[in-house]
Subunit: 313 residues, 2 copies
C-alpha cells in the first residue's frame, strides 16, 4: 500500500507539498521566499527530535564527556574564510551590511526607500558579520590548542544558506542539531558511523523509510566538481535520505568526516600533538519534521501513538 | 549585606563582568564582538526562563486562545520598511548580502580575500533579506485581515541589533521571548500591564531586585529625540530594570503598547473594523540569565535551591 493511498492529501510534488503545509498551518510564509515560520505543532515535533537525539547521545558510554554549547546565527567574517566556505560555497554565503551614517545619510537613505529604488541598500556598509552556514563552524575557533583525548559536543542552532526555493525542504534559514567529535582519525570515523546508524534507527522508529548513501557537498563551479567527486571517492560524507515526496529523495541528516581540515586550520591538536581530526553528525530538524508530516499526515493528533509518544516530553 | 560581599568575584563594571563570564565559561567569545556562544548552564537557565514564562501564560484565564508560533532570524527587507524600523532605528539594522556571480567573479572574490582587502565584501550583492530586530515583527504580516476578539501569541526567537559592545548585556545577537496581543486599545493596555506585573513577580521570585520604569526606544538622530520623548510622555513603553552591575541599571524585559502602529500598517482589523491595537511583552532571555549570574554567582550548583527549582524542567 502506498503512502499516497493512505493519505489522499499528500503531495505529488515538492511545491504542492509546500502549499499544503501552508494551508494546514505547518508553515507560515514570511516576506522572504524560502523563509518560513512554524506552527506550534511543528515546533513540538522539532523539540521532540532534539530530545530524542539528546537521549541517544546520553545513552552512549562516553556521554559523561559530552558538552552541550550554543552559538548564535551570526559570527565574524573571518570564520567564512578560515572554514574555506567562501572558497567552496560562495553561492550559499550571507554577509551582513549595516548603516553607519549620520542624519544626512539617513535622510538620503529614506529618500531612496520612498522612491522605491533598490539603491537604498547601497547606502549600507559591509560589517564584519556573516551568517553562519553550519552550526559546528562556530565551535572550532573556540577549541584552539590541545584538546583532551576525544572531545565531544552537542550543538543546536540556526543556519543560513542562500538557496531560496519553492521546495519546502530547502529553507534559507533552518536549524541543525549536530554532534561533533574531535580526536584521532579513528575516533572521528567511529563517531560518524555510529551516529549514522543511531539516526537511521531513530528515524525508522518514527516511521520513515531511510537509506544511507555516500554524498558530496554542493561545491561551487567547475573546480568544485573535482572537490565533490574527491569527497565522494574518499567516502567523507554520507546522507540519510527519505522519499518524502514520491520519486524524490531528500537528505534529512548527514555524517561528515572532515579529516584534519578544521583541526589544521584552527590549530586544534590531539593529545599526540597531531592536528585533530573531526567528524560531525547533523540532523536537519525542519527537514525531518516535514518528512514526518509527509509520512503521517497534516494532523499531529492522528499520527501513530508510538510516534507521538517517542516525540513527547 | 551587599551582593558584592556575598560574592567576592562579582564585577565592579560591565566589561569586567564580561571577562569573568568568559573565564567561568558562561560566555564563549566568537570571531565577532558582541556575539557570544553560551555554556550548557547558561542554556539551562534560558530554557528554565522560557518554561516559567510559558507556565505563567498558561495559568491566565484566556490561555486557551494562546497560540505559540516560531519565526526564523531572517525575513524580507520589506519588513524593516513597513515596521518603520529603517526610519526609526537605522543604526541597528542588518541586511544580507549574497554572492550571485560566476566562476570568474568567484576568482576575483577570492583574490580580494587573499590580498587581505576589505574589498571582497563589495563583490557581494544586496539580497532582499534582512535580519529580524524584534521577534514580534515577523508576526504582523501574517495577521493581515480581520482578527478574532483579542488574539494572543507566544513567540521565541533570535534578534539582531547592530550595537557591538564590551558590555555582555548588550549583545548583537540575542533571543527574546515575547507575548503579543492584538485587539482593542483596552485589551492591549491590559495585556502589557498584566505582563509587567507577572514578570516582576517572576524575576523577584528568582532573587532579582526589579523596578518598573517608563522608557523610550533609541530612536535615531535629532528627530528621533522628539519621537523618544513622545513615546515616554504617552507612557507607551515600560522596562523592567535590574542593577546587575553596581551603579548601572539594565533593562531585562519590556512591555510596549504600539497603539495601532502595526495594525494600521499591516491591515489588521479588530472585530469592530478598526485597525487593531497591539502590545507586546518581551523577556530578554540572555540578559535575565546574566543578571541571575551576577546575583547568584558563577556556579549554578551553588545558586539558592528555590531558584534552581523554579528554573528546572
Amino acid at each position: 500500500m502506498s503512502t499516497q493511498s493512505l493519505l489522499p492529501e499528500l503531495p505529488s510534488g515538492a511545491a504542492e507539498f509546500g502549499r499544503k503545509l501552508v494551508e494546514h498551518g505547518w508553515l507560515i510564509p514570511t516576506m522572504a521566499p524560502g523563509v518560513n515560520g512554524l506552527s506550534e505543532d511543528a515546533e513540538r515535533v522539532v523539540a521532540g527530535l532534539n530530545r530524542r537525539a539528546g537521549q541517544i547521545a546520553r545513552a552512549m558510554p562516553e556521554s559523561p564527556a559530552l558538552r552541550s554549547l550554543r552559538f548564535p546565527p551570526v559570527n565574524g567574517q573571518e570564520l567564512l574564510q578560515r572554514t574555506n566556505y567562501l572558497t567552496s560555497f560562495p553561492q550559499l554565503v550571507g554577509a551582513v551590511d549595516v548603516f553607519d551614517g549620520d542624519s544626512r545619510d539617513h535622510r538620503a537613505l529614506l529618500e531612496s526607500v520612498d522612491s522605491g529604488e533598490r539603491g537604498w541598500r547601497d547606502r549600507l556598509a559591509p560589517s564584519d558579520l556573516v551568517l553562519v552556514p553550519a552550526v559546528c563552524h562556530s565551535l572550532y575557533p573556540h577549541l584552539q590548542g590541545t584538546i583532551a583525548d576525544g572531545e565531544w559536543y552537542e550543538l543546536t542552532g540556526e543556519c543560513f544558506r542562500n538557496e531560496p526555493s519553492e521546495d519546502p525542504f530547502r529553507m534559507v534559514s533552518f536549524r541543525m542539531r549536530e554532534y561533533v567529535l574531535l580526536g584521532t582519525p579513528e575516533q572521528a570515523l567511529a563517531h560518524r558511523d555510529r551516529w549514522l546508524a543511531e539516526a537511521q534507527t531513530l528515524l525508522t522508529g518514527l516511521g520513515l523509510t531511510v537509506r544511507i548513501e555516500g554524498a558530496n557537498d554542493p561545491f561551487f563551479g567547475r573546480s568544485g566538481r573535482l572537490l565533490a567527486s574527491g569527497q565522494r571517492a574518499a567516502e567523507l560524507k554520507f546522507e540519510l535520505l527519505v522519499e518524502a515526496v514520491p520519486g524524490r529523495s531528500t537528505a534529512v541528516a548527514s555524517g561528515n568526516w572532515h579529516q584534519d581540515h578544521f583541526g589544521g586550520e584552527f590549530g586544534i591538536r590531539s593529545a599526540d600533538g597531531e592536528p585533530a581530526h573531526s567528524a560531525c553528525f547533523g540532523f536537519g530538524l525542519e527537514r525531518i519534521m516535514l518528512a514526518l508530516v509527509a509520512r503521517h499526515g497534516f494532523r499531529l493528533a492522528d499520527w501513530p501513538a508510538d510516534v507521538r509518544n517517542a516525540l513527547q516530553g
